[in-house]
Symmetry: C2
Subunit: 185 residues, 2 copies
């Protein structure tokens, strides 16, 4: 049987295949994960764009407007999760990571590399979440100083494969070299 | 223009239309929202099945195994979020709710109404998340005492519509009678 999801090593390879595709392919399942953060009024969730994923350094990256709520939430509680669902494989991928917020000179090259329409997502007026009288009362104003990178250092990857012959759940941890462990689903 | 997402009332109606479809239609976008909770090691996220949604009483319901991590997380921090994404409308729906965990006699009728295959998701051995030596080392053992209902009382609904002519964000709150307010995206 060649299904990679029947082994721990094959499962972890599948996760990284998804993450790497997500950073380059617009319609890949991992292109738009859900980022969950712990906010002052409980847990928050929103979709984000996966911008980078590095297996060598256990790293994932998402971009944000520095004034958005998620940036403040990660400053208070840097431990957050990303969730990816691949409907074709019926595979759920949960990533746990500790995030740093990088801005200014450190990320200037990434800002320069962004195409114009993508830059318009950072720096509009008023700031994200501000009440406005109508949906048109928002002005795009691309600004490098409003741009930041949420860089996550992965600590755990948990998969759940909804297989016809029984669900399979696995947990991989940086602390044990990503060896992996099957768990009850 | 008949696009309901151009008005606050139409946007809220669209949200409820999605939630109501999600409870009955297997391929509806709101069938499988992401539930974000605040856990002891930061925010957690996983997909769930939307089982009930009531506009009259601002209520949503999800089923769970009482021994699963999310139940413990909601007991410590009942304020959590559900996220729905409709790719056709390019509409993100964020629901904020305070959850109670209902079990035993209170939910016996819901347990009785569950078809056999659905019951098999609650009560297997060992408990969810327990390390096992292989993915087959898990025995289904449907048990009413392992079944619980996560009932969420909605406090806020936030929408983000990725429209070609400018993104539209709106916030609706139970506290002001769900009147709604446009916000900067």
């Amino acid at each position: 049987m060649n299904d990679p999801l029947t082994t721990l090593a094959g499962t972890l390879d599948t996760v990284w295949h998804h993450l790497e595709r997500g950073t380059v392919q617009r319609d890949a399942p991992a292109r738009h994960p859900v980022l969950a953060t712990a906010g002052p009024a409980g847990a928050e969730a929103r979709m984000v764009v996966l911008r980078a994923a590095g297996r060598i350094d256990d790293r994932i990256e998402v971009y944000a407007d520095r004034r958005s709520a998620k940036v403040g939430e990660l400053a208070s509680e840097p431990r957050a999760s990303l969730l990816v669902w691949d409907p074709a494989q019926r595979l759920q991928i949960r990533l746990r990571a500790r995030f740093q917020v990088l801005a200014g000179e450190t990320v200037a090259a990434l800002w320069e590399a962004l195409p114009g329409p993508a830059r318009a997502l950072y720096g509009g007026r008023p700031a994200p979440g501000t009440p406005i009288s109508g949906p048109g009362d928002h002005i795009a104003d691309p600004a490098a100083h409003a741009f930041c990178v949420l860089r996550g250092a992965l600590s755990e990857i948990e998969t759940l494969h909804l297989a016809t012959l029984g669900h399979r759940r696995a947990l991989f941890r940086a602390a044990d070299g990503w060896r992996g462990q099957w768990c009850a689903p």
